[in-house]
């Protein structure tokens, strides 16, 4: 990514503003396409019978930023991007809260779409975050899905 954009990586407890974040990426003179992905705490937990009270997200400070920066660099090497943003929250999140976002900007739509999907696939299985769902029945660590690991295969050359 010698010629690539400087990725914007944010790991924080605080919420973020999607419009503001997408707006930053629209600034490039040759940016024709911006894709964003936002993940959100669903009101209905995956497997539990009881409804979700809140979610706890743990991460590995230091490694998290390194892993996300590395993913952004890989994306910028594979596609002609004018901007990359990855934001992931940690701590306590309520149903309906935003969890994370990725945003990619490029001249053309395919690069922006593919890079955003690539970042999501890598982030799901390679960024050190762990989710715990807390319901009235107790707390349970979310299991990794095999499909998430398998999703990485499509990006191997």
């Amino acid at each position: 990514m010698a010629e690539g954009p400087t990725p914007r990586i944010v790991v924080a407890e605080a919420d973020f503003d999607l419009g503001t974040e997408a707006g930053r990426l629209e600034d490039g003179p040759d940016t024709g396409a911006v894709v964003t992905f936002t993940g959100r705490v669903r009101d209905v937990p995956g497997d539990a019978d009881a409804s979700l009270d809140h979610m706890l997200i743990e991460h590995y400070p230091g490694m998290t930023e390194r892993a996300l920066t590395d993913m952004a660099r890989q994306a910028a090497e594979r596609w002609p991007l004018s901007g990359v943003t990855i934001i992931h929250r940690h701590g306590r999140l309520a149903p309906g809260d935003r969890i994370m976002m990725v945003a990619t900007a490029s001249r053309h739509r395919d690069a922006a779409f593919d890079a955003a999907a690539f970042l999501m696939d890598y982030l799901k299985s390679r960024a050190p975050f762990w989710k715990k769902e807390v319901t009235a029945d107790g707390a349970i660590w979310v299991d990794a899905r095999e499909t998430d690991e398998a999703a990485l295969d499509r990006w191997i050359d």
């Binding site: 590995y60 390194r66 992931h88 982030l123 960024a127 660590w141 990794a144």
Partner: protein, 83 residues
């Protein structure tokens, strides 16, 4: 060799701490795991099924047979579930 050893998510909960300093001569991550298992029941429990344990050496995700030469920080955690 002195290592910072970190635990996350249910590994942290089972072992009962998030970080400790360990003096070891283990050659690889797998050797370190074997050594930890013999220490106390809670370690044996945490490392009972290594298919559900992932490892990072100096903040890079690595396989369990990775040598510890020159390592300063080793972290153990379940498969990641971010996003």
């Amino acid at each position: 060799m002195t290592l910072d050893v970190l635990y996350f998510a249910w590994l942290r909960e089972r072992i009962g701490l998030g970080r400790e300093v360990i003096e070891t001569e283990a050659a690889t991550v797998a050797d370190l795991v074997a050594e930890l298992r013999t220490r106390e029941e809670r370690y044996a429990l945490a490392f009972s099924d290594m298919t559900t344990v992932r490892c990072a050496v100096d903040q890079d995700l690595v396989p369990l047979d990775t040598p510890l030469t020159g390592a300063r920080e080793v972290a153990f955690f379940p498969p990641m579930t971010g996003g």
